[in-house]
Amino acid sequence: MILLDRVTKTYGKVATSALDRISLHVEPKEFVIVVGQSGAGKTTLLRLLTREEKPTSGKIIVGGIDYDKLRERDIPLLRRKIGVVFQDFKLLPNRTVFENVAFALEIVGASSHEIKATVPKVLDIVNLRGKEKRLPQELSGGERQRVAIARAIVRQPKILIADEPTGNLDPKHAWDVIKVLEKINHYGTTVLLTTHNQEIVNKLKRRVITIEHGQVASDRDRAGYKV
């Protein structure tokens, strides 16, 4: 589902490597946790996957799409196949929960009929039924993140990328979010989660990829993690 082959990303003229010849392979329906300290290169990795940035060298293939052959104008089509959740939620503040989720469908030209039928189902999955008309500022952090997840999965992507989704949340709300991610993975979506929450990693017992200094330091199944 996701394949990286000796991917390197350097910034600036000094050529400090954010990622240094990273290779990894993620199978369909896998739940993978990427851990590493701030600045280790986790976010760069995700930004390469969403094609916000191009690798300096190396090959990336996601869902059968070879990024080398991806034309600039086809990037939107790629992004429609990947759901992304951010640490800072990135919700539209002046739109309701329903409208925020509907937004992802609107931009791909879904009919209002489709939107009315799909959005409530997705809000059910993230346990936000009944809060459709709330604005983001009226919600707790955990609820906001679940709105963002709902928006990311409403188009039924094959891959869900979650960049520190629990970073701004207290433990209880963090668990609500993680449970939702597990549920989505259970339905068949590949999930790529970055975090540095040790407790979450240890409880989840999933594949853990550790990145240090832009390189894969370890890659273990059902692993734990120590800071």
Binding site: E52, E72, R73, P76, K90, F103, R151
Partner: protein
Amino acid sequence: MSRKVITGTRVIRTGMVNFVRNTWLSIAAMAVMIITLTIVLFSIITNATFTNTVAQITNKIDVSVYLKDTTTEAQGSDLANKLRSLPNAKSVIYLSKDKALERYREQNQGNTALLAGLSATDNPIPATIQIKPRDLNKIQDLRDYLNTTVNRQLWDDVTYRDDRKAAIDKIAHATDLMRRAGVITVAVFAFISVLIIFNTIQMAIFNRRDEITIMRLLGASTWYIRGPFVVETIMYGIISALISVLLIHSLFVASNSALQASSLGLLDINYASRYFNSHLWQLLGMQLALGILIGAVSSYIATKRYLKFKSK
């Protein structure tokens, strides 16, 4: 409904909503556009009016050839026919002595003292050929032809009523000047309005940067993001065009009714007003096209420039 239609409708709706939300920014951008379009409209009408004035005056100018009494009627009409074949003769009228007298009487009706001295038996009025030239600047052709030795024997006197030529030259010169000044002014203002629209869009993009980032990350197509900005500026164009036509209309209404003026300097307001009314739809269509063009082109360039679509 196909996805494209749905998306198109959403883009247009978003553009309209943004237009309403950015009222103050929109007004600033439209003000300059209105000035530009009003100048364009005014220049066009002025140009048409001056052209008309020149044509009217040209029409009044003629060359009268007063034939000698010794010239026979046959010779006179022969000369008239020859003149007709000249390229610069628009119309040639031959008046025999009798006809010329008749016309003289008509022209001087009421002047009994003058008419009393005239009688058909002792007709002092010469047979006359009246020529209307096509082009005033080529009147020399006619002169040359009349001065050929054969023709010179036939007439006494020729009057070139081209004293108005000076006036025509003046108007033609003014028209020319107006045209140039119009083109330059329009170009300058069009440039300014493009710059202001640029700035407006830059600010609008800045205000909506979070929304745009989210749209991009969610996979919105380039046109889904750009479209609303273009729609917004097309609306500037449409509204500015309507206002410019309305402004010119009220200018004519005001000068006709309130000032009761028939002309402003060299400008014949009555004709200008008539021209405006009879060409209203064409002018409105042209203004709309121009407004939409200015709006669409500047927002197309501005969004291309300020919305960076390329990934690093």
